[in-house]
């Protein structure tokens, strides 16, 4: 064993370059994985620290048990609690202090006129809490707000918005108010709480805007020193049920912290890490293919050596273990290096975020042993698994067979492989096609689309596996095609093309597995591109079909909204003909918590075409509700039926179904009348105003008037075309990120091609000597290698493009079966396809540079003398 180990080590050190390039694929994949895990842990630890700090002075929190939506979800709206509780809790023995927490949304407008923060971290509006332990905020300058017209802001907002003590600032609640900045506070030692902005008011003002008079968001309680919190919890609970009865809960600060951690995990961290992990997965799969290929070639090159070893008495397990040990060594070193690089990457990103002003409480990087072990183990397992198959094949070489054979050529592709490949590809394709129908059927019956998505996923995977198995078959015609193409394009290059083509064909399995790594990356890129283009097309189509107005005024995501005041001023502008406000919210409709849109049902009819199936929007007013066909099917309601709807403030209304419509893409399944919704929605707001412009008025003039009316830091005003463009722009933005991440997988694949190429060239040294002797110029030799690289890359790219467009079509069909018109919206991303092909060819040319140069440098006589 020791001797075998020494042999493996010697092989590795004697061919450092190969060991390095084998390891490199794994290094990149593992680095990505480790960076994701470590950054996730670091952010988690950062938030944990921040939440713990925020809740440090609190022992108990008393708040409403109820809310609408899923608790822990970002959209969750919790009910309020009676203010009277505060005073009563103060009197509970053992309570040192109790304070009212009153919270809502408030956007501070900076000196430059734009709103500060948003787009992720919350923009908090609150009542200032005087108790220095119940509030994590410390006043740095000035004092607490005491009367209406005074505000205290966080130091981050003061810096970002260039606001000083004594300034008058505008704040969107969403209606604009003006307040004098009387204080600037820090969150503990920090300028802000993870980038959240704070506008704190006196309690009466805050209640008026956020919770309603006599209501509070929660009561925060601090125990006297030495008091047992569990006992106090019981006492407070008793008092609470005495005062307000059921429906109010008492939780400890530990529970509160845990809940906040879970919430940030659910709506931010979890999503980000899952997505990054998926990309790391793609990168690692691609790396696996590259390693498989490298080891296959290495084993075949060593088959002579192995045979010699076996002839000299080495057993099969010994020969096998020599390769496996090598794989373990490469895998271990590469995984360790990769993990190190990943940790460095995470640290770099942490610093980058810090220097960009994103203070997420990450003072230092958090390296959990679980993350390190996972990254190293995954890298090691992939390397070893990818090398075991070639190793087993290699160890099968009979003691003398390999010594006799010269050029081992496997032009044939196994029958079982073909059969399995055809089965997987055809079966997978059939499943993808079927899933679309399943999803459509499910949509028609308003049933869950889950099974369809599962069928789609399994089908996609099967198709990918089938393509991988059948790739060698495609390599053969491809190689021949290349010979023709080069001959037709330029006769002087014919011979280089022919030689390259023949090399591609001589070992189709190797060519294929080299190309397959690229197939995986390109498939995923194309899948996303196809989805994106199709979605853009569909959105365009939907907006044009359903929205008949001219202008869309929309509040930025995560902002305080448009405000009823501004909305009504927009309605009254002379340039505006018809207008309807939309408020997005939550309500319990017929027993289920649902996203709803509140609007003027009558006015919306003149601005949109929602595909009314029965009843009518026109004339519908307060007391009525419009529901989608899906909702009607699911809840068995018809026009004229009554549906119970309740709100976060506890009010319940019986609303009559006035219309049933089919277009759900913008309005969702339930539309309420604003008059029914806004009074019960807490801090009332309008999210979107749709409008049409009066006769004879230029749309862009009208847009300017609206912008002027909105004032500083106001909502976005877009014409219909601009609105469509901005949706497309958002999709493109998401796509850019995805492209960047997948580019990594493609890079690994191309390194794999370069690696395979280098090994193939090495294997053909003698042939190269012969070619050079009989008159092949260095240029021609380089061209041959280059062509080989390009054909392999094009093979992988074309395969990936085909598969990606097909799967993209499948996803578009299945995922959008519910939305009218999306199912037929498949668009082929021509631009992306051209770009991918051009990039692949360019990259293949670059990948071939080194192997080609090495081939061209070979001394003719030395090459000829190679066995």
């Amino acid at each position: 064993m020791a001797r075998i180990l020494r042999l493996s080590l010697r092989r590795l050190t004697s061919d450092k370059r190969r060991a390095f390039s084998t390891g490199f694929a794994i290094i990149i994949g593992v680095a990505f994985l480790a960076a994701t895990l470590v950054l996730g842990d670091t952010m988690r630890a950062g938030f944990k620290g921040l939440f713990a700090e925020a809740n440090a002075g609190i022992d108990l929190a008393v708040r409403s048990e109820d809310g609408i939506g899923d608790a822990g979800d970002e959209m969750f709206v919790r009910g309020t609690t009676d203010e009277a509780l505060v005073e009563r809790i103060r009197q509970v023995p053992g309570v040192a202090a109790a304070a009212a927490q009153v919270e809502g949304t408030a956007q501070i407008i900076g000196a430059d006129g734009s709103a500060i923060g948003g787009g992720g971290p919350p923009t908090v509006g609150a009542a200032w809490i005087d108790d220095p332990e119940l509030s994590p905020y410390r006043i740095r300058e000035g004092r607490a707000p005491q009367v209406d017209g005074e505000v205290l802001i966080d130091a981050y907002s003061a810096r970002e918005g260039d606001i000083a003590l004594g300034d008058t600032v505008e704040i969107r609640l969403p209606d604009l108010i003006e307040s004098e900045v009387v204080g600037i506070a820090t969150f503990g030692e920090r300028d802000s709480f993870a980038g959240a902005t704070l506008a704190a008011f006196d309690q009466d003002s805050a209640q008026r805007w956020f919770t309603g008079d006599d209501q509070v968001s929660a009561v925060l309680v601090r125990a006297e020193p030495g008091v047992d919190v569990a006992q106090l919890d019981a006492l407070v609970s008793d008092t609470v049920s005495e005062v307000v009865g059921d429906g109010t809960e008492v939780i400890t600060s530990a529970e509160l912290t845990a809940e906040q951690e879970k919430a940030i995990e659910g709506d931010f961290l979890g999503m980000v890490t899952m997505m990054l992990l998926a990309f790391a997965g793609v990168a690692l799969v691609v790396a696996g293919f590259s390693i498989y290929n490298t080891f296959t070639i290495m084993v075949s090159q060593r088959s002579r050596e192995s045979s010699l070893l076996r002839a000299l008495g080495a057993s099969r397990p010994q020969v096998l273990s020599a390769v496996t040990i090598e794989a373990v060594l490469v895998g271990l070193v590469a995984s360790l290096v990769g993990t190190g690089v990943g940790v460095g990457l995470a640290e770099g990103l942490r610093r980058l975020m810090a220097s960009a002003g994103m203070d997420l409480g990450m003072e230092s990087i958090t390296i959990n042993s679980a993350a390190v072990v996972t990254a190293v183990a995954v890298g090691l397992v992939i390397t070893v698994l990818s090398s075991v198959i070639p190793a087993i094949k290699g160890s099968r070489a009979a003691p003398l067979a390999a010594l006799r054979s010269t050029a081992v050529e496997a032009t044939s592709v196994g029958r079982i492989r073909i059969a399995a490949g055809v089965f997987a590809l055809a079966g997978g394709a059939a499943m993808v096609v079927t899933s679309g129908q399943m999803a459509a059927d499910a949509a028609a019956e308003a049933a869950s689309g889950g099974p369809a998505m599962s069928v789609l996923g399994i089908g996609a995977l099967a198709a990918l596996v089938g393509a991988v198995l059948l790739a060698p078959l495609a390599a053969i015609p491809f190689g021949h095609l290349l010979s023709r193409v080069t001959g037709a394009l330029w006769p002087s290059g014919r011979i280089s093309g022919r030689l390259a083509g023949r090399n591609v064909v001589r070992n189709p399995r190797r060519t294929a597995s080299s190309a397959v790594a690229l197939v995986v990356g390109v498939t995923v890129v194309t899948l996303f591109a196809t989805m994106a283009v199709s979605m853009k097309g569909a959105m365009d189509d939907i907006v044009r079909r359903t929205f008949g107005g001219d202008i869309v005024v929309s509040a930025e995501w995560g902002s305080a909204g448009i405000g009823t005041d501004l909305a009504s001023r927009i309605h009254e502008l002379p340039e505006v003909d018809r207008a309807a406000d939309l408020s997005y919210g939550l309500a319990r409709v017929d027993g289920d918590d649902r996203d709803i849109v509140a609007t003027d049902l009558n006015a919306i009819a003149g601005l949109t075409d929602l595909g009314v199936e029965s009843g009518s929007f026109a004339g519908a007013g307060a007391g009525e509700v419009a529901v989608s066909r899906d909702f009607a099917l699911e809840n068995q309601v018809e026009v004229g039926d009554v549906v119970p709807v309740s709100f976060v403030d506890g009010t319940s209304l019986d609303l009559e179904v006035g219309a049933i419509y089919s277009e759900t893409d913008f309005m969702g399944n339930v539309m309420l009348h604003s008059d029914d919704y806004l009074p019960h929605a807490g801090q009332s707001t309008v999210d979107v105003v749709l409008l049409s412009v009066a006769e004879g008025i230029d749309v862009s003039d009208a847009a300017s008037s609206i912008e002027a009316a909105a004032g500083r830091g106001g909502p976005t005003v877009e014409t219909r075309d601009e609105f469509i463009d901005s949706i497309a722009g958002e999709i493109d933005q998401a796509l850019t990120l995805i492209y960047g991440l997948l580019g990594l997988a493609v890079l690994i694949a191309l390194m794999g091609i370069a690696n395979t190429l280098a090994l193939s060239v090495h294997e053909r040294t003698r042939e190269i000597g012969l070619l050079r002797a009989v008159g092949q110029s260095r240029r021609q030799l380089r061209a041959t290698v280059r062509w080989e690289s390009v054909v392999t890359a094009v093979l992988g790219t074309v395969g990936g493009l085909g598969l990606g467009v097909f799967l993209g079509w499948g996803v578009v069909r299945a995922a959008f079966a519910r939305s009218q018109g999306m199912d037929s919206a498949l668009a082929v991303p021509t631009g992306s396809i051209v770009a991918i092909v051009v990039l692949a060819v360019l990259a293949a040319v670059i990948a071939s540079v080194r192997p080609a140069r090495r081939a061209a440098r070979l001394d003719v006589l030395d090459a000829l003398a190679t066995v």
Partner: protein, 270 residues
């Protein structure tokens, strides 16, 4: 030098298939009468060296593979280079063919001095003016026999002279096997294809390094006869390195090397 008796006694199977006692070497049958019996030819030369010296290594390990060799290879003849193993035969051939460079001295091929040529020009020279036949692995496994034959012309991007190609192909005698890959041909057939490739581009000279070294006797004779007929019927100049006296007996003249020096240059005796 050569004894024909060894041939007739050991040559139990006549590859030509006719009279088992017939000497398969056609040039010995009578057409050598118009050539001098001894010494190098005085006619035109296709290649020559002037004090060609090749030294490998330095100091202790220094090996003088060629020691001031001056030799002229006559055009239109079949010249054999003989000598014991390590005597410098291959080195001389490589230097003559532009595959290797001299330490000192000069080599002329077609009256062109090779040391002055760039790699590009040397490659072009090898492609257009020289034919090669190596001991083994002469053919590209991915190309068919015919594609291997036309390879130098294809590399030059030039159309082969069809009439000439037909003639070469006819002489090579592969018939329908021309479309086959080398792996489907016997060793002798492979070497004949290699010779055909060397011939097809009408080079000034063909260099063959132990072309029969890896072949059984019968296949070897096929190849030697093929080389011989190339000289006789097509007027090709050929230089063949061999250490087999029987193979050398097919040549018009034999150059013998020992320790990097020419010890004899004799014409074959009939």
């Amino acid at each position: 030098m050569l004894t024909d008796t060894t041939l007739t006694t050991t040559d139990s199977v006549d590859p030509a298939g006719d009279n088992p006692q017939a000497d398969p070497r056609p040039h010995l049958a009578g057409n050598s009468a118009n050539r001098p019996a001894n010494g190098p030819a005085n006619g035109p030369t296709v290649a020559r060296t002037e004090a060609a010296t090749k030294v490998y290594g330095a100091g202790e390990t220094k090996v003088t593979a060629l020691d001031a060799v001056s030799v002229a290879i006559p055009a239109g003849e079949f010249t054999a280079i003989m000598g014991p193993s390590g005597s410098g035969k291959s080195t001389l051939m490589h230097c003559l063919a532009g595959l290797d460079t001299l330490t000192s001295g000069r080599v002329f091929l077609d009256d062109v001095e090779l040391s002055s040529l760039s790699d590009r020009k040397l490659t072009k020279l090898r492609r257009d003016r020289i034919g090669f036949v190596f001991q083994a692995f002469n053919l590209l496994p991915t190309l068919t026999a015919l594609e291997n034959i036309t390879l130098p012309m294809d590399l030059a991007g030039r159309k082969p002279d069809q009439a000439w190609l037909d003639q070469v192909v006819r002489v090579v005698g592969l018939g329908t096997r021309l479309g086959h890959r080398p792996s489907e041909l016997s060793g002798g057939q492979q070497q004949r294809v290699a010779v055909a490739r060397a011939l097809a581009s009408k080079p000034a000279v063909i260099f063959a390094d132990e072309p029969t070294g890896n072949l059984d006797r019968n296949s070897g004779i096929e190849v030697l006869k093929f080389l011989r007929s190339a000289v006789d019927d097509l007027g090709q100049s050929i230089v063949m390195v061999t250490h087999d006296p029987y193979a050398a007996s097919y040549a018009d003249a034999t150059l013998t090397l020992s320790d990097g020096r020419i010890i004899s240059h004799e014409r074959a005796v009939a």
